[in-house]
Symmetry: D3
Subunit: 237 residues, 6 copies
């Protein structure tokens, strides 16, 4: 039995609340159980410097945790003077995931920044961020489309993400912090609405893993992402 | 008439929601109209290095805004590599204000950090932060007292803060962003429950000001802080 | 009786020596007793980047202390890698104070930087800096006017500053370091030649303060600033 | 046909030269074609601060590229003032991979740092680094064992890594820079001598990928890693 | 004829004023013509961390220029976030020069920091700094000796420094900024009272130089340093 | 007898291997005994910002050591966040030395960066760097000349460098780390093929030195540099 009494293939309660930030072009507050992430999309009228003059836009992401999102207070990155390696890994992953379903030509010479700020952290913050950031991006693009800033709608598909792990030798879905800390293997899967893979990251923590376990986790992830994409569809309907 | 249709001595709607952060020893979400600040109190079992061995504790604060709390996106301080002068001024002010009503001897050799993270900014973020941080601090101290970590309750009084300004020649209370941007003078007042002054900061923006205007603002601030302290009392009752 | 044997409304001996820096467009060495600040004004032919193309100029300030200006050596900010919060607060205050009496349109698209470097610190360094920086700014503008760089003289009025405090329950003027360290309340007042207020900053240190004490300090500050402005007039005559 | 004329499952020529650094406790120069990485192992007599007193050691890694390892010169990270997100991702991966096959208890309260410095970069620098770092770590542990610093030999197994990709729809092994730049999907696999998985990272670059493609890449990786581990065995024999 | 109308072997007017900093254990203001450097010595009761427990002390130096010491304003190093290469070279040179004549055993486990702050710069700031820092160090050691903090006086000899150059093919002494900017070769010599060499730094600027020119400069430097040491003797008499 | 059994005027075995970096426009691996430095020359099509529009180019250098080039591991400068004072001194010296023999007009508005990365350090890394960087620069300029990027060949002469020291009272050439650590005086000499001096740096370490010793070291350096320039000639022949 899992610590949270959930079945191996059972997500935590997931909710998506849209339009939570007054000034952002798109936003949502996404909750995976006690993990709460505020996602905002900010439109800028020019692309990053290295992309100017190429007729394309860019989608990027930044990720951070509030100092007391966690069990014990984490030092603020503005006082350490730099973003940690973990922060940079996560925000690069969020950006890649969203770009995989965005037509950057259709976006034109603009940039959209997805800010994913973790208000409360109980495991799975990066997968909640990707799933919520898609909603914020969607709403930002709708906002642009409604104002005729873009002609063609640049989103090609949904994208969502979920964590899996091997816990006591069994593959399980959507680990909370307690389960994640004790898991042998930790994995994150990013998939599209069409079921294609965007990113697979599987890491041996306490023990190495087998191809069978990788495939079991992937199967669980497919099921979980399907449900998340249903929730995205309801949210933006 | 003020842009917000409020009377000169009228606060925006203020709400305080406690216990919003699962892991913090004390927390609240305070709203002054569209200004929303998440305040958490984090207890650490040792004082800062420079205070060790003196039998006293410390109360400090950190302040930040989410990148899209504002009309246009603000760059994240973790990517600029340092906190701005404005951020440092504000967090020093919050810390001083709370220490003015805290018995640091009674706290013992411990540190409490108040994190004030602005989720949405429409003027008055520093005064909302002070007012909300008092609630988070109060709840943290209650938490400690309930566990017999401290014997004597270290809070001597309430403390709350409000902004005033001179707008079109008239003193007004609790400016929102639109009014603040156009005001001739900008001031912040921090007062205790007993009506004593903790901090006065008045700055000529578009025009210098008179002693009469300073006193008019102080009178408005007294009224505003009285109401804020009533709200604090209701919140922690 | 005050530690310095001065009356409550008595300034320390104040002197202003002009033209102390060979290369600067304006400069002075100002002394408030044992507090010595070297103020220079440097003209730059273009405004800061964010102000370009608006037909206006800018006046800004930087503040620093030599490492051994103080009783014990202070670490150099170039080796800590950043300016402290205190330094940033002070230099922002100096800049605001001078801009309050400067016609930035008349200055044209240029920037003047006031560098206030404390050679020796015995309390009141920020108020000495403001008072001296006005002289350096005046001389820089005269230099520009003499060379027909500007047509209209941009200074509208004098500006000067003085500290006050509540010490043993009594309001006193121009605190030195020994008195400042022990004072209950610490305040800084910036006023113009016409007697208008530019900035009021009052902070409870050891004890909160009353409106009466605030007004007593303001009365002392008016008297002190009048004398400082007389000294500025003599200096630039 | 691949740009390099290799078969889909064909590695570039791989060589491992040991004892290339006079002062290091273990070292090798590993070449995957034109990708050359110098790996050194440095023993330190105490673990990192956060691990003290727990009776265990630590294995960590740092990764860097010489400025002109690449086609055009890359700015040195010591002059930008920080390590890039990419650098941090890679060195965290190298460290995790080696720890997965190391008995940290048997290492005792010590730290071994694997420095992987890329002298020349033609794709696959992170997988060459992992494969070479294992050799340097092995030799460092042998050095320690030979001096009776440790009783039990802490290495449990080999570990090696290889990149795969989907190029023109086909899974291919060990991409060089030209092929990697044009590939639709990019993946890195870290496996042990026993064939267990340590890390899987697969990323959609130009196009999303399928589960079938993921499995094809994994099959190629197994073959490649087998050969690399044979080379490690020859090198340390 | 030199731009300053001086003979090839003629120093600028040099003055040394002691006891210019109220709080420092030793201090002087040294002027080489229009080059003015404020030198202070600060005693700290413990040596740097890397020297603890060895029974010896340390003498170190820091160097900086005020922003408007120069013809055009130089950016403050606290705002660039680091000391320039030039600053570090100079302060390392000052420290080495003073340590060459100090008995670090006799100093005991303490550190003396010489701060050399250039108030005005007209060439030769590093040589003025060394020459003045010796006086500040001397006075600090006298202060310690007078209080019986040390038994043996740790200064073994005088040390002073002067710049030379090759200008229009001729060796000249003590270049000011105008002459230095146009010189073919620039050199700095540090010598003791006994005439021994402590440091020689000669650099081809506009043209390479010959051994004869090096020796001519050294001869000039000997003469110049003799006079500087006479001035040091007068100053501390 | 010297620790290395060499005569006072005897170089360590020196070798220069060209074309060691696949992508650089010029490169060599230079060895002075166990000191190994990889030198690359990188051409950039524009000069540094401060030189634009003046019709001239620039030659600059960067220097670094791999972490385990040394007996004990040195912390990587990218993790400390800045280059040390020593690093900056050395790279400034390398750049000045090469510019002394380069016609920057003939180079045109371009920049060549010489990267000197020390793979293994046994004393004399800066002199090996200068000597090797000349070869890399030569080859880069030949590469440019061969492609008609430049018409006139900009190198005016050879330049090479060697260290000397006073060891047990005797002047010796080309010190290795063991000898350098114990020497009384440490010196570096940079000379041209024509025998002119480019840079002389002599520093008292354990003891001051005499003019006679300076001249003895210079004589040794002349002999050593002659041999190094012969080796440069062979290398590029």
């Amino acid at each position: 039995m899992r610590p949270s009494q959930r079945a191996a293939d059972e997500l935590r309660p997931v909710t998506i609340e849209r339009n939570v930030a007054r000034y952002a072009e798109g936003s949502c507050l996404i909750k995976f159980g006690s993990t709460h992430v505020l996602c905002t999309a900010s439109l800028e009228d020019k692309p990053p410097a290295w992309l100017r003059g190429q007729g394309r836009g860019w989608v990027t992401a930044e990720y951070a945790m509030l100092p007391r999102a966690t069990h014990t207070r984490t030092r603020r990155e503005s006082t350490t003077g730099k973003q940690s390696g973990r922060t940079q890994e996560i925000q690069r992953l969020i950006g890649r995931s969203l770009r995989a379903v965005t037509n950057l030509q259709a976006l034109g010479e603009r940039q959209i920044t997805l800010d994913c700020d973790v208000l409360q952290a109980d495991g799975g913050t990066r997968t909640a961020s990707i799933t919520g950031a898609w909603v914020a991006l969607h709403d930002c693009l709708k906002w642009m489309h409604g104002r005729s800033i873009i002609k063609e709608f640049p989103l090609r598909d949904h994208v969502a993400a979920i964590s899996c792990g091997v816990s006591n030798g069994e593959a399980v879905l959507d680990l909370d912090y307690a389960e994640d800390s004790a898991a042998e293997t930790d994995a994150n899967f990013v998939l599209t609405g069409a079921g294609s893979l965007v990113e697979v990251q599987a890491t041996a923590e306490a023990a190495v893993f087998t191809e069978t376990q990788l495939n079991s986790m992937l199967t669980l992830a497919r099921g979980g992402v399907s449900k998340l994409i249903e929730l995205q569809k309801c949210a933006v309907a």
